[in-house]
């Protein structure tokens, strides 16, 4: 009558999923982050915020819920446009005979000025662009920069950490030296140095558009923490029995490093990766604000804050609010999710 023990071991990732669902804060955070990702996906394929750079409203259009607010700037702009009519100089102008021809040409090129609305859902910026659309597009750019840069930094840090921890000896000595060099330069100075070099160097035109300058700066300066963690894990794991067993059946060194050990340290990497995403997004926002980040034809939370500084002085607070709220909600949810992830992955709590 012996009871048959039939317990299929739960895979690590199923366990993670189950724990995350049980953790209420973690589940809500995961939901918010997922919602952001869907929003970004829609923005990328053009279903959302496609026309963020179109001037759809009057300058500094009021938010819809504040429609009655006086908008001096838009009124001023309108006055200027009306004043722009040229006085009649027909009698004195030697070019007067050409007026007819010019009028015809203008007729042919006549552009239709789209009707500009007085209010926008969450207000407009200086050029009458929709702030809500900008915030959505800005989320896409900021989060993409953070995630891509974090992935690059993780790749560098993991590779170097694995080499140093697994092989030890002179490889370890060399990489430790490199680590010391990178960490003894104050982080922000390294960022500025790279920004200066990439702006004025021969590579400047290569990265002039797109997010690559920021990504390179962040990845190049941010890999050190990951390296340290991964190295420590590899030193611990390299002489464990399962690795020795793999060696005994003839697994090559790269195979032991990346097929056997890597999955067993992936939880450390995953948590550190999410911490990097949060840190990198914050730095990207500051760099873009300073004009060292994404190019001017793109919008990110940082460039929005850059415009918002001057707008706030004349009382137009909505762009500041939009960028802050979008950023704060995402980073809070992402940080909470990271905490839950760390708890769910902690083998001691099992």
């Amino acid at each position: 009558m012996a009871a048959v023990l039939d317990v299929t071991p739960e895979s690590a990732w199923t366990a993670l999923w189950r724990r995350l669902q049980q953790d209420r804060v973690g589940a809500i955070s995961l939901g918010i982050v997922a919602a952001y990702l869907v929003m970004i996906l829609f923005a990328m394929v053009g279903l959302l915020a496609r026309g963020w750079s179109e001037e759809v409203g009057v300058p500094y259009a009021n938010p819809s819920f504040l429609g009655e607010r006086p908008n001096l700037e838009a009124a001023l702009q309108k006055r200027l446009e009306q004043k722009g009519k040229v006085p009649d100089l027909r009698d004195v102008d030697p070019l007067a005979p050409k007026y007819e021809e010019w009028a015809k040409r203008t007729e042919a090129l006549k552009s239709t000025e789209p009707a500009r609305s007085m209010t926008l859902p969450w207000g407009g910026d200086r050029w009458g662009r929709d702030v809500l659309a900008k915030a959505i597009k800005g989320s896409q750019v900021s989060i993409a920069v953070g995630v891509v840069a974090a992935l690059c930094a993780t790749f560098i840090g993991t590779l170097l950490g694995a080499l140093a921890g697994f092989y030890g000896r002179w490889i370890n000595d060399f990489l430790e030296w490199l680590y010391n060099v990178f960490t003894s330069i104050p982080g922000i100075l390294l960022v500025f140095t790279l920004a200066a070099v990439l702006r004025s160097g021969p590579l400047a035109s290569l990265f002039a558009s797109g997010i690559w300058t920021v990504v390179i700066i962040l990845a190049f300066t941010g890999w050190t923490g990951m390296y340290r963690l991964v190295r420590a894990e590899y030193m611990k794991h390299r002489s464990r029995e399962y690795v020795l067993a793999a060696q005994a059946i003839g697994a090559s060194a790269p195979s032991r490093m990346f097929v056997h050990i890597l999955p067993n340290v992936s939880h450390v990497i995953l948590v550190q990766l999410s911490l990097l995403v949060v840190a990198f997004i914050k730095v990207e926002v500051i760099l873009s604000f300073l004009g060292l980040g994404v190019p001017i034809d793109m919008v990110s939370w940082g460039t929005m804050l850059g415009e918002a500084q001057n707008e706030l002085i004349i009382g137009k607070w909505w762009q500041l609010a939009a960028a802050t709220v979008f950023m704060a909600i995402f980073l809070t949810a992402f940080s909470m999710l990271t905490d839950s992830l760390r708890d769910a992955l902690d083998p001691k709590l099992r």
């Binding site: 030296w177 490199l178 010391n180 060099v181 990178f182 003894s184 330069i185 104050p186 922000i188 100075l189 390294l190 500025f192 140095t193 790279l194 920004a195 200066a196 070099v197 990439l198 702006r199 004025s200 160097g201 021969p202 590579l203 400047a204 914050k282 926002v285 500051i286 604000f289 300073l290 004009g291 060292l292 939370w301 940082g302 804050l305 918002a308 500084q309 706030l312 002085i313 500041l320 960028a323 802050t324 950023m327 704060a328 909600i329 995402f330 980073l331 809070t332 940080s335 909470m336």
Partner: protein, 301 residues
Amino acid sequence: MVPTLAGVVLLIFFLFKLFGGDPAQILAGQIASQEQIDAIRHELGLDQPWYVQLWFFVREILTFDWGKSWMTREQVSSIFLTRLPATLTISIPILLLEAAMAIPTAMVVAYYRGTLLDRTVMAICVAAMSVSFLVYIIVGQYVFGFQLGWFPVQGWSDSFWKNLVTYAPLPILLAALVGLAPQTRLYRSFFLDETKSDYVRTARAKGLSEPAIMRKHVLRNALVPVVTNISLLVPGVFVGSFLLEIFFSVPGLGREIYLAVNRSDYPVIQAVTIYLSVLTMLINLAADVLYTFVDPRIQLR
């Protein structure tokens, strides 16, 4: 430390050499004849092989003679001496104020661990950390400087006391408040680590009150990692907060290097980066030596 220092010098040299722009082009500007460019190249030694240039670079570092800034013609060494006081006037009070606020807050939160108060404060901390530093500065400057007029919006004077009393308080307060959230979170974890240890259980077993345990036992032991963390922040004092300096137009080192990046002023960037790295190394070394006095369990190898 010497190999690390050599690495820093090599890294900076080759970053600028391989990826930086041609200094002669930057110096000569857009409209320059080939002769002018060649003359500048010769003057800067750019027509020499790279190892000779590296030697020039090392010589500049050792003799503190970096020549003049490319754009403002100011001596690079004098940039250091004139900008550092402003940076320190802001950053040292920030460091002290942050620690003075974060340690008691963390201790109180750790004392009430697991309660609603603890969780509320921690949630506020996470939310506060998710708002960009920029937003705090923009809104703080607008509200306290522009709207309420409690502080000047920006500015700086030649007198140290006037700076400290008039111009520095707003940036200092803003930075200290922003630094409060992450530091409270970190120090709370240090306190919590100690509350789980054996000596706390012993103290509780012999009937000591919870506040007494917290004050006499936990605080003293938790101060070791706290002091470690603060000593890690000390090198940052010299770099200062470039954002604060830019916003409040404080003529400090951080703002100077930001301006240098914008005008591709390579000597200033190189000099600031290298000397501040050396300073960072020296401070860390000093901190390591100090530990052996603070905590007898630690030994230098």
